[in-house]
């Protein structure tokens, strides 16, 4: 899989923007078996967070919002992500945290085949997978099919977070709220999440949020951090 590095910075820079990731700084992944990746010719260890989902759900916007830089190209009209794009944060020498933004599915049957096998590869190598959904949609056929294929069993779902984007666009639409949903929208978001639970059973967290303007992303960041900590603990235990 071709990976393009769109952004590279120190972890400290990320923590300044999103303190919820602080736990990651203390993780010693050297002794663990976090995977080795070859990135632009360098052999490095990466804690890998992949963001997958349907085209137009806001994967690129989410990565931009999480890291606080507009490094991934976004468009309300057409797809603009064609290969995996990483935002990398150096924890210490040779060790990185990476967010991978990938092309979205649902635009063409041929591309989907290609992208889904790319997702499969990515899911296997990632430590956390953020599967994006939208609150203001009712048609989850593609999402459910992809989910079933990528995470066939309960064990594989343990590294999955469902991020439900667009909570500020669920009905009844309110343009008065500067960010996030109104009270009535929030009630509908909660109902939506109750509905999604059984359809995406076995995921670790379901987190309603908004990528732009950012809302509740600290909850998502926290969930990612906790899952990475657990992954580090598990791998350490295995090493010991």
């Amino acid at each position: 899989m071709k990976v393009i590095i769109r952004h590279e910075a120190e972890l400290a820079a990320l923590l300044q923007h999103q303190p919820a990731f602080t736990g990651i700084a203390g993780l010693n992944i050297a002794s663990s078996d976090f995977r080795h990746w070859t990135c632009e010719g360098r052999d490095i260890q990466i804690m890998h967070v992949a963001i997958i989902g349907k085209s137009g759900y806001g994967k690129s916007s989410l990565v931009n919002a999480l890291i606080g830089h507009d490094v991934m190209k976004t468009s309300a009209i057409e797809a603009c992500t064609r290969e995996a794009q990483n935002a990398m944060f150096r924890i210490r020498d040779g060790q990185y945290l990476a967010f991978a933004d990938v092309p979205g599915i649902g635009e063409s049957a041929q591309c989907d085949e290609k992208y889904l096998s790319m997702y499969q590869d990515l899911v296997r190598k990632s430590d956390v997978v953020v599967h994006m959904l939208r609150a203001d949609c009712r048609d989850y056929a593609i999402d459910e099919a992809a989910f079933a294929r990528l995470f066939p069993d309960r064990a594989s779902r343990r590294k999955v977070i469902l991020a439900v984007n667009g909570c500020d666009k669920i009905e009844p639409l309110s343009r008065q709220t500067v960010r996030g949903p109104s009270d009535r929208q929030w009630a509908n978001v909660l109902e939506k999440i109750r509905e999604l639970g059984p359809r995406f059973a076995g995921v670790k967290h379901i987190i309603p949020c908004c990528a732009n303007p950012a809302w509740r992303l600290e909850h998502l960041s926290e969930a990612i951090t906790v899952m990475l900590e657990e992954a580090a603990r598990v791998t350490l235990a295995v090493a010991a």
Partner: protein, 292 residues
């Protein structure tokens, strides 16, 4: 509508111009006239769950074709794509998801080969901020477009344009997009037209809940319909969405249709007399026009 009333007006207009229709033909003309005016169009509304099929129908035709839900898929029946025919021949059809359609192609092909030829108009509803259009495109090209090629008026309705980003820019007081939204809407329109291989004027932006773009949609639909079906459609549309242009086009279509009916039915009115019959019916059409 009162059948008696418009045929009386018709024959009166004609006799005022010296064209007296014998009793023997009156009933035949009357019944054809009623067929045209009271024609119940069959409208097929396609779109994925959540695209806003029901909201669009409710906004256009002003009656609850289907209760609209904020959350759940309201139009979903137990297992079928066929969602039931609302009053007045409106049919809402779910576009099956990718992978869903393949296995049941035969079934769909069967269903649509009987349904599609009966439709007078097809509206294909797409949510403006939806980028995952593979299932729409695939289903349209394989199953639906052969019928459209045969001449059924067809429009893609780019619905919910008020939600296109940046959605907080939408002017709720004026029911208009903000400047950046207007650009995004225009761009999306072009992208969808190219994606489906359609001319730009068959992809129309609207926001059913905001009552935006509906007049333009009705104008385009009326223009695309065969003249004898315009009145039947326009009468179904909510009065506030009927523009002068649409009324005029409908009135003209109606006039031409009636002239043809008269020339066709009454043997002593020759085809060359069309013009004088048409002149004689001007006041009648004015009266019918006031009905829209």
């Amino acid at each position: 509508m009162n059948h008696q009333a418009h045929s009386e007006q018709l024959f009166e207009s004609l006799s005022r111009h010296g064209i007296v229709i014998p009793e023997a033909y009156r009933q035949k003309i009357e019944s054809r006239l009623n067929q045209v005016i009271n024609y119940e169009p069959r409208v097929g509304v396609f779109g994925k769950t959540g695209a806003g099929k029901s909201s669009l129908c409710n906004a256009l035709f002003g009656r609850d074709v289907c209760p609209v839900s904020d959350i759940a898929a309201c139009t979903r029946s137990e297992q079928e794509v066929f969602l039931g025919i609302g009053s007045k021949g409106m049919t809402l059809l779910d576009v099956p998801g990718v992978g869903e359609s393949g296995a049941r192609d035969q079934e769909y092909a069967q269903l649509y080969s009987t349904l599609l030829p009966k439709l007078d108009l097809v509206l294909w509803v797409i949510k403006a901020d939806d980028r995952a259009l593979a299932s729409d495109e695939d289903f349209y090209k394989r199953i639906v477009s052969p019928y459209i090629q045969a001449g059924t008026p067809f429009f893609i309705v780019l619905n919910q344009v008020d939600k296109i980003e940046p959605f907080r820019e939408w002017d709720e007081a004026a029911h208009q997009p903000g400047p950046r939204q207007a650009c995004a809407i225009d761009e999306k329109r072009r992208a969808v037209a190219a994606y489906f291989g359609l001319p730009l004027d068959q992809v129309l932006p609207c926001a059913a809940d905001e009552q935006y773009g509906l007049i333009e949609l009705v104008d385009a639909v009326i223009h695309a319909l065969p003249r004898e079906k315009r009145a039947g459609v326009l009468i179904q549309v909510q009065p506030k969405h009927r523009s002068e242009k649409a009324k005029q086009e409908t009135g003209n279509g109606l006039l031409d249709t009636i002239v043809d009916v008269i020339v066709d039915i009454v043997p002593f009115v020759p085809g060359s007399a069309k013009k004088s019959v048409k002149n004689a019916l001007k006041s009648f059409c004015k009266w019918v026009g006031s009905l829209f």
